[in-house]
């Protein structure tokens, strides 16, 4: 009956390798894939090649950041692809048909995204409906609204808007990036700070660990649920703006199925689908892995559907990996 009774060392692997293992595995995969591409294909390794990876996927990075918040709480947001589409439609219509200034259009689009997300969060919490169903409804609503606005695509010619979209920033050595990349990286940085250095962020992790416990510990579960879906809606709208920079058009068929790419990126990036464990940086790496697969397939002159097959296999492998890592951990509790 000495104090020693409770002074047991934790069992299992040390924390570092365990918590970060899935992310590190993804990082390793990314490096291996890059090395493979470098040795296999001429002209694969270049500074601009890396920069293009970010330029081509900036919108997906932003959407995946929002998705990470939602998945960390144990939820899911299927509406993000449709919200991206809606955002491109709203932006192109307001800019071209209504002649609004880009400086006004961007806040309006972001506000629409936040509102949609916040509403879904509120419905999920207060009516206790599964996020899957609520955001599926949100997806149909947003996609439907796209076609209400127009069934045709609309190209964007607004001066300021295309300036922001096309302007490049030289990084030296002839490598350039776009403003979209900076926006995406800023979103990642902010998300990281929020998740790790604010109470909101920690509540997100706590809720993913156990919603019941979070409630009994007196944490603001309602506020947190609404917040994460609002964040996801915001990120989807921001992703939509970046996409419209990238395509310089708005189309009702934009980003169909993008939500699944985002979810895949988040899971490959090491975030647990049941919530409570994962990192936003992992999601970024997940997006880069998806982008790199695309690049390699292009270099290999393969049909583009091989991209989907590869992503599917990877996703499967990573979910198995998570099972193994966390199955080993669970007997403690």
């Amino acid at each position: 009956m000495s104090t020693a009774v409770l002074d047991k060392r934790p069992t299992g692997l040390p924390r570092v390798s365990q918590r970060y293992f899935p992310v590190l595995a993804t990082l390793l995969l990314l490096v291996l894939m890059y090395l493979f591409g470098t040795f296999q294909y001429e002209g694969f390794a270049s500074g601009q090649g890396v920069a293009n990876l970010f330029i081509d996927n900036s919108y997906l990075i932003v959407v995946a950041v929002g998705m990470t918040f939602v998945i960390l709480t144990g939820g899911i947001d299927l509406s993000v692809g449709a919200v991206v589409g809606l955002s491109t439609m709203v932006a192109s219509t307001l800019l071209e048909d209504r002649g609004w200034s880009a400086l006004l259009v961007i806040p309006v689009v972001l506000l629409i995204g936040c509102t949609l997300g916040g509403l879904m969060g509120a419905v999920i919490h207060y009516y206790e409906i599964q996020p899957f169903i609520v955001t599926l409804a949100g997806m149909f609503l947003a996609r439907g609204l796209c076609y209400v606005i127009s069934t045709d695509s609309q190209s964007i010619t607004d001066g300021l808007y295309s300036d922001i979209a096309l302007k490049t920033i030289p990084l030296g050595g002839g490598v350039v990036i776009t403003y979209s990349v900076i926006v995406a990286l800023a979103a990642v940085l902010v998300a990281y700070m929020v998740l790790h250095y604010t109470r909101l962020g920690r509540n997100v992790y706590a809720m993913g660990g156990s919603k019941q416990s979070a409630m009994l510990m007196g944490l603001p579960v309602a506020r947190t649920t609404i917040a994460v879906y609002t964040i996801s809606g915001f990120c989807a709208a921001l992703g939509g703006i970046l996409f419209s920079f990238y395509a310089l058009s708005g189309s009702p068929n934009t980003a169909i199925g993008l939500e699944l790419d985002a979810i895949a990126a988040v899971v490959i990036g090491g975030t647990l689908l049941i919530g409570g464990s994962g990192f936003v940086l992992g999601s970024v790496i997940g997006v880069l892995v998806l982008g790199l697969i695309q690049t390699i397939i292009t270099f290999a002159n393969l049909e583009s559907y091989f991209t989907r097959i590869t992503i599917g296999l990877l996703l499967f492998a990573f979910i198995l990996l998570q099972r193994l890592v966390f199955a080993r951990r669970s007997p403690g509790s």
Binding site: K8, Y205, L216
Partner: protein
């Protein structure tokens, strides 16, 4: 130590709480004094949990008054109660195991510097908070890497650190071993000396008498009374809790020795020959005769449940043979076992037995209906008859067949599960920890039921961590150690709990047959 003359920290008077169809609390009073450990006593379903949830703001009351430090209060959320100084550590530790120990203590009130969480400060303060409960562990590790006992201490440290005046411990000892319980008691005594009012709920009467100063007894949602622990003998406490004299309990005491005679010629209901499963249980022989109660004794993890699961086909044996009524039979699935007249109630009644959303009636009918097949539904009239019969026979409370099972207390859920299988008239009933976590009254009822079932000729395989219970009910006891049946002990004149313990421990003087 505060005297009874000083005013209580918490005074609850005339508390009423109703759920649809149930009066959970009806005019209950509770007084908590600073520097005292207060036991909240009562059978399962007496209203202890509801009273705690009322005090901690999980439920709002339908009537009565709560005063905290003399001021009337009304908590509408756990957060409000916590801020007012009432903290709870629940039976199943309600923390987030994915977060670090430090975060679990401070989440929701993390120390911040310039708006950002100050992790270093949080870890430092977490170490301090843990020192109050005499725990020295690495606070940056995730909580999941520590044992339940440590997680519970962390929960207490969190509760105490939220400058609690009132600490409620709901069944904190149910998953702790002896040493850990003593550690908990040391911490409780220390916190008591610091002036906290502690509420302690436990099914272990010895623990109640060891640690508490005062107790309040509830029965059927009503107040029985408040006593100083030292002034209420244990026997009287039990009779106050179950509301009747101890005849039921004592009737059982008389039947301590239960050796069946003239079994040698009978055919076993079930006979396992060299049955085993890799990584689960080593091959064993086991025979159960008609009307025989066979007890399985052994430590947690010794393979008791695994034996039961093999006998029921829930796990598939990879060696050996089964004989049912002397005929070789395959028991590969629970379905095959059920059709041979074998029934099994799992130790995890909530996850592996009952369907919480269904009613008592639907749960009871489930197995019988499954055995008949869905093409031959049982008429509603027949269902009602059967269910009423078993609700009466097993004294399931509330006696309402349309009540959702999840709203029943643990003991009553166990009875529903038993009723489900009894209704199918099995030859062999396998009971895995049927009395765990249920109160004295229901426990005695279930024990009595086992005895009368075996007298009617049903065979029972009885698993329990409580050796007294195993010994009291069984004709013979199979002793397990390290996933092996190491001995079969006839429950004859000389058999005692001590002898079983010695066998389990492996230092028995006499040679036991393996």
């Amino acid at each position: 130590m505060a005297s009874a003359a000083s005013s209580p920290v918490v005074q609850m008077t005339g508390i009423r709480k109703e759920f649809p169809g149930v009066k959970a609390l009806d005019g209950v009073d509770l007084r908590l004094f600073a520097g005292e450990v207060h036991a909240l006593m009562g059978e399962n379903g007496a209203g202890k949990s509801t009273l705690i949830k009322v005090l901690t703001g999980v439920y709002t009351i339908d009537g009565g008054e709560i005063r905290l430090g003399g001021e009337p209060v009304l908590f509408s959320s756990p957060l409000q109660a916590q801020q007012a100084g009432v903290s709870t550590v629940y039976q199943e530790v309600n923390l987030c195991t994915n977060l670090s120990v430090a975060e679990n203590i401070f989440i929701g009130r993390e120390p911040r510097r310039m708006g950002a969480i100050n992790w270093r400060e949080m870890r430092r303060r977490a170490r301090e908070a843990l020192e109050r409960v005499d725990l020295h562990i690495d606070v940056s590790q995730p909580l999941s890497s520590y044992s339940i006992a440590i997680q519970q201490m962390v929960a207490i440290a969190r509760a105490v650190d939220i400058s609690a005046q009132v600490l409620i411990l709901d069944e904190p000892t149910s998953s702790l071993d002896q040493g850990e319980v003593q550690q908990l008691f040391r911490v409780m005594r220390q916190l008591k000396a610091e002036g906290l009012a502690i509420v302690f709920v436990s099914h272990f009467l010895e623990q109640i008498y060891e640690i508490t100063d005062r107790m309040t007894v509830l029965r059927n949602g009503q107040l029985v009374g408040e006593w100083m622990t030292s002034e209420l003998p244990q026997v009287e406490l039990v009779s106050k809790m179950i509301g009747r004299d101890l005849a039921t309990l004592e009737a059982l005491e008389g039947e301590n020795k239960r050796t069946l005679t003239a079994l040698e010629n009978a055919t076993p209901v079930i006979q396992a020959k060299g049955v085993g499963r890799k990584g689960s249980v080593e091959p064993f022989d086991l025979s159960v005769y008609p009307g025989e109660v066979v007890g399985l004794a052994g430590l947690l993890g010794s393979g008791r449940t695994e034996v039961a699961r093999l006998m029921f086909g829930a796990d598939r044996a990879d060696s050996g043979d089964f004989l049912v009524d002397g005929k070789p039979t395959h028991l590969r699935t629970p379905r095959a076992a059920t059709s041979q007249g074998i029934a099994f109630t799992s130790e995890n009644r909530r996850t592996e037995g009952l369907v919480g959303e269904l009613t008592v009636r639907e749960n009871i009918i489930l197995a019988l209906q499954a055995a008949r097949g869905w093409t031959r539904p049982i008429s509603r009239k027949r269902q009602d008859e059967l269910v009423d019969e078993y609700i009466k026979a097993l004294d399931i409370r509330p006696a309402n067949p349309e009540q959702q099972v999840r709203n029943l207390s643990g003991g009553n859920q166990q009875k529903v599960l038993l009723a489900r299988w009894l209704i199918t008239r099995p030859k062999l009933l396998i009971l895995d920890e049927p009395t765990r976590g249920i109160d004295v009254g229901a426990k005695a009822q279930i024990q009595k039921l086992v005895v009368s079932l075996s007298e009617e000729g049903m065979s029972v395989l009885f698993i329990s961590a409580e050796l007294e219970e195993v010994l009291r009910l069984s004709h013979k006891v199979e002793v397990l150690r390290d996933r092996r049946i190491i001995a079969e002990l006839a429950n004859d004149e000389g058999m005692t709990v001590e002898k079983i313990v010695e066998t389990i421990a492996g230092d028995s003087r006499e040679e036991v047959r393996a």
